[in-house]
Every structure is written in C-alpha cells, then in structure tokens.
C-alpha cells in the first residue's frame, strides 16, 4: 500500500481491498476473462471461479451455495430483497415492517413501495438504537409479508437482536430480511440458526472490491427478479457476471470470517482506548449507540456546542478521515435520521462524529486522534456562541 499518509477511521463507509484479494482478482480481468455463459475452456474457468466464490460466501454465513446470488452490492441486494418479496407476495398482503434506523437503500425502497400501494410500518428504536422484538410482534398483521431489520447500524454501530426478531417474523410466517452490510466480518452469522430468509452483503465493507455484493435467498422464498435479462444466476439475476469482483468477494469474505473473534479483539482494544480517551479528555461529549451491543470498530460521539462538518474539515487537515451525522454533509438540512430516532436532540445530532476503526489502524493512530481531536473541539467551541462562560446558557440539554 506504500507509505501511510493518512489515518483512516471511516471503515464503515468503505475499506481498502486487501492485497491478497486484488491478487486473486487480477487473472480474471486478463487471463480468465471468458464469459461464463460461453462453452470454451477459458469460460469454464470463469464459471468454476464463480462457483468457488459462491461456496465461500455460503460457508461464511451458514447457507447453501445455491442460496447465494451475486449482485452489484448492498443497495441492489436490499432493493431486490424488498421489492422482489413485496411484488411476489402482493396477493398475500401489502404490509412491510422495517425500522426507523435502516440504511437509505432500505428506507427509500420502502418509500417507493408506499407509492405503489404498499403500507410500511417504521418501527421505533430505544435510546441505544435497539429494535424491540415485542414491538415487532405487535406490528405484524395478517397483511404483513416482509420484515426488514438491519443486522448492525452503520452510524451508531448498534447490533440488533436479529435472531429474536427473525423468530418473531417466522412465527407469523412472514419473510425476514436483514441488511448485514456492516455485520459481515464483525459478527459471526448463521442464517439457518438465526432463521433469516434473506440477507444482503457488500464486498467493499470487508476489504473486498466495490461494485459487488450478494443476496442470500433461503430456498423456497417467493421473490420476483429485480434485474431482467439473460439467464445468469440461475435465471434470478441477469447480467454478465462481474467475475473478478465475485472472485474478490469470495476471497475477502473467506479472510474476513476466518477469525472474527481475533480480529474483533484487536479492533475493540484500539476502539475502547480511543473512545475512553476522547470521553476523558473532552467535556460535554456523549457516546451514541449501545455501550456493549455494538460493532467492534464503531465510535459515535456527540460534542456539544459545535457542528460536525467543521470537525471533519479540521480532522482532514490533520490527515484523519472520519464522518458525521450532521446535516451539513448529508446534502440536506436534517441531521442523521438514526441519531434522531434514538431521541438525541437535533442540535446535538449536528455535533456528532463517527470514527470507525479497522484493520489498518494502529496504536499510533489512536494516539494521533487523541492528540488532535481535543484541540479541534476546543478551537471550534471557542468560536461558538453556544459555548458561553457557564456553558449552560444557550447550550443544549442532552436527554
């Protein structure tokens, strides 16, 4: 990767592809480039590589290989799962249940379906971002055809009680989909033991390439196609296969799930030291999300009296890549829907900072952020009219 020039703490946004992953991919762009639908031998090599990757993905989540369908990524998988199940089961019902903290790939798909005559319930979450299985059960009606709840939240890192939620859906014979884009490589997943019917994943979140993902569809699930065309993916998803991408996905998921506990132990130790250091060094700072039930690399903290984008710009100046739930980076004037759903005051949501650690991070990175961040926060607070002498007047009340 060459000399390290920046500190990357935005692994929930994307991750760099591992060298081994890229090495595994390259021959499928140059040598084994054959269209798997063709009959000659180089095409057969492509076909074999796809089958091998399918087996790797299946093994990583406890599925059968023929339950794995490759897609262009997490957004397509979410769109397919939700629209596909909704349209295929329209005769049975038109009610879908999801949560208020889903990724926009789920939320905007549900909003689209509302225009198409479906009824969607957006379940609330508690202050940690947890969905309550009892709330889910109350929301299910005889018109409900699909429940879609994310495995782990991308902003605050909260891990949902997926097995409990899926069992509730299963008890009522309702399909259960989970967007597990943030979970792969961080949480051991077994779709059979957890009663999951559909699961979305995306390679670039676990050190694989961008532009490739998969949807697990439990055998027997009634689902329409999303992409119509050729007979690829057993006539379920048209389009010439992204062979190199699929090979990269297979390699990456194998590596990411080989030793989840070991990986988590290392990341969690760095994360905890960084989180505790920030909270100790910076007053008027509050952790968002669940204290324990959260992704190992996730930190989401709100700083009172300042706004997130200003923090990011200064962090970038120090070579630190991070993210915020403030409106100012989202292309709208509303702050993060996830933070608001946890009941966080709007004004505090604007001052949130997300740091997501991953494999590239070191103790030196943690030290560098602990050195830089308090100064940045203080500098911004000193120019904030909310940061008054007694730090109360004009300040924000945290709930």
């Amino acid at each position: 990767m060459g000399e390290k020039q920046f500190i990357y703490m935005d692994h929930s946004a994307t991750t760099p592809a591992r060298a081994e992953v890229v090495d595994a991919m390259v021959p499928y762009y140059t040598r084994y480039f054959g269209n798997p639908s063709s009959i000659y031998s180089i095409a057969r090599d492509s076909k074999k590589a796809i089958d091998a990757a399918r087996a790797q993905v299946a093994k990583a989540i406890g599925a059968e290989p023929d339950e794995i369908y490759f897609t262009s990524g997490g957004s397509e998988s979410d769109n397919w799962a939700i629209k596909g199940v909704a349209f295929a089961n329209r005769k049975k019902g038109n009610h879908i249940i999801t949560s208020k903290i889903e990724h926009h790939a789920v939320l905007h798909t549900c909003e689209y379906l509302e225009k198409e005559g479906f009824v969607v319930t957006y379940l609330p979450v508690d202050k940690y971002g947890l969905v309550d299985p009892a709330e889910l059960e109350k929301a299910i009606t005889d018109r409900t055809i699909l429940v879609s709840i994310m495995y782990a939240n991308n902003e605050i890192g909260t891990i949902e009680p997926i097995r409990e939620l899926a069992l509730v859906a299963g008890k009522h014979k309702v399909y259960f989909h989970t967007d597990a884009v943030q979970a792969i490589g961080n949480i051991p997943i077994d779709v059979k033991a957890e009663a999951i019917d559909l699961l979305s994943l995306s390679a670039h979140k676990f050190y694989g390439p961008k532009g490739v993902g998969a949807l697990y569809i439990r055998k027997g699930t009634k689902i329409d196609n999303l992409i119509h065309g050729g007979g690829q993916e057993r006539r379920r998803r048209a389009g010439t296969e992204n062979i190199a991408g699929i090979v990269g996905l297979g390699k990456a998921i194998g590596m990411a799930t080989a030793d989840i506990e070991g990986h988590n132990r290392k990341i969690r130790a760095l994360r905890d030291r960084l989180r505790d250091g920030i909270l100790k060094k910076i007053p008027h700072a509050y952790l968002n999300g669940h204290p324990e039930k959260r992704l190992p690399g996730n930190i989401n903290i709100s700083f009172e009296f300042i706004e997130g984008e200003s923090m990011l710009l200064w962090l970038d100046d120090e070579g630190i890549c991070a993210s915020t739930g403030s409106a100012c980076t989202s292309g709208s004037l509303e702050p993060s829907h996830v933070l608001l759903a946890t009941g966080l005051a709007v004004e505090i949501s604007h001052g949130s900072l997300r740091l997501t650690l991953g494999d590239s991070n070191t103790d030196a990175d943690v030290d560098a952020v602990l050195e830089a961040l308090p100064k940045i926060v203080l500098r911004l607070r000193e120019m904030s009219p909310l940061y008054t002498k007694d730090r109360k007047n004009g300040g924000c009340n945290v709930q």
């Binding site: 200003s310 710009l313 409106a327 100012c328 709007v346 120019m383 904030s384 009219p385 924000c396």
Partner: protein, 145 residues
C-alpha cells in the same frame, strides 16, 4: 468541495470573538438547524470601525461569517446594509449550492446588528429590501425550525 478562499477563511477566520462594548449585536440562526451566527459591530460616525463574530456551524458558515465581517469593516451603515449574501459568496470564490444559506445567514446577521444599533439610537429600523423568506433560499432548502 470548498474553494481555497472558503478553506482559508475557515481555517484562519478573521475577526473571531466577542465585543463587550459593541454598538450593535445581531444573532441569527438556530441550533436545531445546525448554524448560529452572532455578529458584533463597533460603529462611529455612521461607519463600522470594527466587526467581530462567533459562529456555531459548518465550514461555510464560519467562512461566511469571517468574510462578511471583513466586507463591512470601514463601510458606512448604508454601504454595509447593501452587502448581499451573493457578495459574501462571491468574495469567497463561490459556495456549494446547498451552502448558500450560510451566506444568507451572514447577510441577515449584519442586518440584525445594524438594526440593533439603530434601535438603540432611537432610529427607525431599516426594512429588508428583499427579505429572504425562509422558504425561498437557494435550492429550496431551509431549516423549518
């Protein structure tokens, strides 16, 4: 996404601070919307001799406050009143469309501070010639709080 000028005024903001003996103070924005600007003006013989600001907000909000205070210093109240949000944005070599409301906030902050001074002087307040009603900002994006 920001121009060099915006980054310069964000990283080296001019005129940050409070003014204890300000002749006019204007505070605009709302913490719920994610930006608040407080503008302080020192005024002598109808001329702005000093301007300071404190801002809670994004990079564009801080840069707009910095530029607006620079632009009104040394100007008569009439001239300062005519410093538009577009003038602030142009002096910053442009703002992303979604950030234009930050320059609007700066213009409004200056206006509010001038009217605060006029009120204290027993003079009638000036009316906004072209009021930025809170639903016609550029790009149609406004904070409704």
């Amino acid at each position: 996404m920001y121009s060099d000028k915006v980054m310069d005024h964000f990283k080296n903001p001019r005129n940050v601070g409070e003014m204890e003996d300000a002749d006019g103070v204007g505070e605009v924005g709302n913490p719920v919307c994610g930006d608040i600007m407080k503008i302080f003006l020192k005024i002598q013989d109808n001329t702005i001799t000093d301007a300071k600001f404190k801002t809670f907000g994004c990079g564009a909000a801080i840069a707009s406050s910095s530029m607006a205070t620079e632009l009104v210093r040394g100007k008569t109240l009439e001239e300062a009143w005519d410093v538009s949000n577009k003038a602030v944005a142009e002096a910053l070599e442009g703002l992303p469309p979604i950030k234009m409301h930050c320059s609007v906030l700066a213009e409004e902050g200056i206006h509010k501070a001038i009217n605060d001074y006029r009120r204290k002087q027993g003079l009638p307040e000036w009316e906004e010639k072209n009021p930025h009603s809170h639903d016609e900002h550029d790009e149609g994006l406004t904070c409704q709080h």
